[in-house]
């Protein structure tokens, strides 16, 4: 029977100001697919959904990379190696593996970068076609994990809102350009909802699958409470139907969603 369980924090890294990556040891969580998440107990009323930033099956370690935005992520960032986290997971629908022949674009924005890196780490080695990565953030310091991508021999294209690194502005023009050059391509993206909406529009013409990993405030994390919904197809007379990020997602196909 599944249950909440405790995992040991092996290591705490500080990839950027206001960020922390907890490397936790767990034979259970390494079963995760990139794009899945675990639901972490913090002192608040609700658990916090956090994606996996890396899934190291060999060493039985996964990464949880958080940006401090409130009480729960602050609490997580203050943990020390040797402490334990209470988690539920892995949860949700992750990314489907890339299709072998298609050019492949990975797009990450802010704390949407970690699951994108996890996808690259999981499937990047077996790729037979071209691969590019586009990362965006508010400013330079928040462009996390770029060294991890480089270690995977991928040089990500960068965009920052303030131009402090890479292109000034969002990732969207970079995505548009790639789409126009790779009409047969496939895409995986994770980031803030407005970014995903723009990426979804930009990628509408792609022949391959466009997979988007969404965020939404969650209650249970396991499909019972219907808190974590996002507007989805089909759109009826009353409006779009609502689907759950925690179990129907976080990863959806762009055709499934309504932004």
């Amino acid at each position: 029977m599944a249950h909440a369980f405790k995992v040991r924090i092996d290591e705490v890294r500080v990839p950027a100001p206001d960020h922390a990556e907890l490397i936790v040891h767990s034979g259970e969580l390494i079963k995760a697919r990139p794009g899945q998440f675990c639901h972490v107990l913090t002192p608040g009323m609700l658990r916090r959904p956090i994606s996996f930033s890396r899934i190291d099956r060999a060493r039985e370690r996964v990464g949880l990379l958080v940006q401090v935005v409130g009480s729960g992520t602050r609490w997580m960032a203050e943990r020390q190696a040797g402490e334990w986290l209470d988690v539920l997971g892995p949860l949700g629908r992750g990314f489907d593996p890339p299709e072998g022949e298609r050019p492949w674009l990975l797009v990450g924005g802010g704390v949407g970068i970690p699951p994108i890196f996890a996808a690259l780490e999981a499937w990047g080695a077996q790729r037979t076609s071209s691969l590019e990565v586009v990362l965006g953030a508010r400013f330079k310091d928040y462009l996390i994990m770029t060294d991890d991508f480089r270690r995977m021999a991928v040089e990500p294209a960068l965009a920052t809102d303030d131009g402090s690194a890479g292109h000034r502005g969002t990732v969207v023009p970079l995505v548009e350009e790639w789409v126009s050059q790779h009409p047969q391509g496939q895409l995986m993206a994770c980031g803030p909802t407005p970014m995903l909406a723009a990426v979804s529009r930009a990628a509408a013409s792609l022949a391959g699958p466009v997979q988007l990993a969404l965020e939404q405030r969650m209650g249970c994390g396991i499909g019972a409470c219907l808190a974590c919904v996002v507007p989805a197809e089909p759109v009826g007379p009353e409006g779009p139907r609502y689907r759950r990020v925690c179990t129907d997602g976080p990863v959806f196909r762009r055709e499934e969603l309504v932004f």
């Binding site: 029977m1 599944a2 249950h3 909440a4 107990l41 608040g44 009323m45 609700l46 658990r47 539920l88 939404q216 405030r217 969650m218 209650g219 249970c220 994390g221 396991i222 499909g223 019972a224 409470c225 219907l226 808190a227 974590c228 919904v229 996002v230 507007p231 009353e238 409006g239 139907r241 609502y242």
Partner: protein, 308 residues
């Protein structure tokens, strides 16, 4: 210790701990985490005759020791429930309470009538107290006459045990409890959520998509205890208590205030296995405070009991 609870019309619970409606889906969702056979019962998500879409997201927001939700009773309607969830429920041995909702008296009647034909459903919980929908819902629960009419219509179409779920958002919730008891309710469940709101500073608007939401969790426990106590003091039928339960001690507090059984909601999101832990520790906690049995604790803090 024997934890069996015997309720009207032959409704028997293995123990006084049930999952609260809306926090436990239709049953299957938590089945991977909780052995449903060990629960006293499960009150499923509110069911209407036709599917309801629910409110726009965000639908939950944390507050101090509490949770605001504006799910808006999203549900696939009674037929989908019967087809997709009841088969699973037939495989588990726990009391199944169908929480029913409607926009009109007629809708309540419809769903009660249809689900009454399904033997797997052990009881009804008539939800006239959900703050998250505009028509129906809470408006029935704030007016004793309308509440009476809903219960009367449900009573006319079912012989199953029926409880009515009371809103805490009126000055005297026991008036509605008295009205529905007069209309034939076998039990009262209390409380549903308190109406509340939070502001999203960045969006400069109410944080929840539904604007207002229902407040649940430990924050509301004192309000719930008081309402259970007042209803149990005034109404003859059994009361099922809920609101903010986190521990076996909290369960004892509801029992002493007059509840015969309880429902556990919000804390399940944090700790899926908490209901089972409560069931395990309840006998110890009862003993620790000098109660030799469950029934001894029920109503132990009520004035009538003190006079004996």
């Amino acid at each position: 210790m024997d934890l069996t609870v015997r309720l009207p019309r032959g409704l028997v619970l293995k123990n006084p701990i049930m999952a609260a409606s809306g926090t436990f889906g239709f049953g299957p969702e938590y089945a991977a985490y909780v052995d449903l056979n060990r629960l006293g019962g499960v009150s499923v998500k509110g069911i209407s005759p036709e599917p309801w879409r629910g409110n726009p997201p965000p639908r939950v927001w944390e507050t101090p020791a509490g949770l605001l939700n504006s799910i808006g009773l999203q549900n696939p309607g009674m037929e989908v429930f019967l087809e997709e969830d009841v088969p699973f429920l037939k495989t588990v041995d726990t009391a199944i309470v169908a929480n029913i909702i409607g926009h009109t008296v007629e809708e309540y009647r419809q769903v009660a009538e249809r689900l009454s034909q399904e033997p797997r459903i052990d009881a009804f919980e008539v939800n006239i107290s959900c703050p998250n929908i505009k028509a129906g819902g809470i408006t029935f629960g704030h007016d004793p006459d309308q509440a009476f009419r809903v219960m009367e219509a449900v009573r006319a179409v079912t012989e199953k045990p029926v409880m009515v779920k009371i809103s805490p958002n009126t000055a005297e919730p026991w008036i509605v409890a008295e009205a529905v008891t007069a209309a034939g309710a076998d039990m009262i469940s209390a409380i549903n959520t308190l109406v509340g709101m939070a502001i999203d500073f960045k969006a400069r608007r109410p944080a929840l998509g539904g604007r207002t939401g229902g407040l649940s969790g430990p924050a509301v426990k004192p309000v719930a205890i008081r309402i259970v106590y007042e209803i149990a003091s005034r109404v003859k039928v059994p009361v099922i208590g809920m609101g903010g339960i986190e521990s076996a001690e909290d369960v004892l507090e509801f029992l002493m205030a007059g509840a015969q059984a309880v429902m556990v909601g919000t804390i399940t999101f944090q700790h899926p296995e908490r209901m089972l832990e409560i069931i395990e520790t309840l006998p110890e906690v009862l003993n620790a405070y000098g109660f030799a049995s469950l029934s001894e604790a029920v109503g132990a803090a009520l004035p009538s009991r003190k006079e004996h």
